[in-house]
Subunit: 204 residues, 2 copies
Amino acid sequence: MGEKPRWLRPHGSPWRRGASRTIYENPWIGVTEYAVTAPTGAPATYGLVRFKNFAVAVLPLHDNGDTVLVGQHRFPLAEYSWEIPEGGGPLDADPLESARRELAEETGLQAADWREVLRAQLSNSVSDERAFGYLALGLSEAANPAGHDDTEDIRVERVPFREALAAALAGDIEDILTVAMLLKASHMAREGLLPPDLAKAMMG
Amino acid sequence: MGEKPRWLRPHGSPWRRGASRTIYENPWIGVTEYAVTAPTGAPATYGLVRFKNFAVAVLPLHDNGDTVLVGQHRFPLAEYSWEIPEGGGPLDADPLESARRELAEETGLQAADWREVLRAQLSNSVSDERAFGYLALGLSEAANPAGHDDTEDIRVERVPFREALAAALAGDIEDILTVAMLLKASHMAREGLLPPDLAKAMMG
């Protein structure tokens, strides 16, 4: 990498936090309303959704170019969603450890080679949710896969990477982390940033 | 497109909604807690963050291969964030119209050629937020750009597409819609899905 472009630097004043009141807490999120001062100096009220976990997303890549997708009904949008293995990990834990656990729990796999390829803010005007995305290479059966929780009814499918990528490009996969991770892995495969045999197998 | 792969079909039972109570409302979001029955049949409580707008994201592409980024302090993560033009549009309005408005408001530009290239769910285990992403081509100055609201203090920079893409790949841009849209546009440019002169200018 060369020097970072000059335009990337911050400009202007940050938001300032004033008084707050906690409105809601459950095991996954909290909602707090803040009196704030905007960067313009204008007073405002801000309802912040606080996440109690990081989101972790794992793109597993088998040596033959297959990936693994997880299908489930999602409550908030009342839709069925195919996604790469994803879950939440405690804010005070290494997200990589949470990613290892999610991969084992959802797919029964472990990986010899983990690569962090994404740090993302998912809805940064409303929530503080952060996501970490990993490629999981060198896959094998996990020694002792843990179980799902009692609300999870998931379907696991091993499919060619290019078929998963095509589904994301066609709009049949809408989960944004899955879309971004498939596109990033495709980019890395083309740019020579993955093992050459794997890249070849992925792109078919 | 050929036939869709068979694995894409839904499996199992959807979630069932029971009694609900509204916990919070502001102009942008609401929070409702539901008694639910999970696909496994297990009873549970679900705190849903309801969005009152669609997210719209616009990747402007000048004929010379430049794009336009917007910088601002974001309250929820207390960080400065460089993003493509983004905003919210009413659920009952055409998201394309909301995208046109956001582009004009934030950058003073209008586009002759709009292409919807992304529909996404941003945090589908907690919220019902949906996003629509557009490429804006054939750019010119907007006849009558509207103003910002009084809490917005944004910086607008016209930068080469490949420089914006590099910033996203390096992790200097973390907004997930921006990352996904830059990667998708790069993919389209390489795959011959954009006007050839534009694709050539974008990829440098």
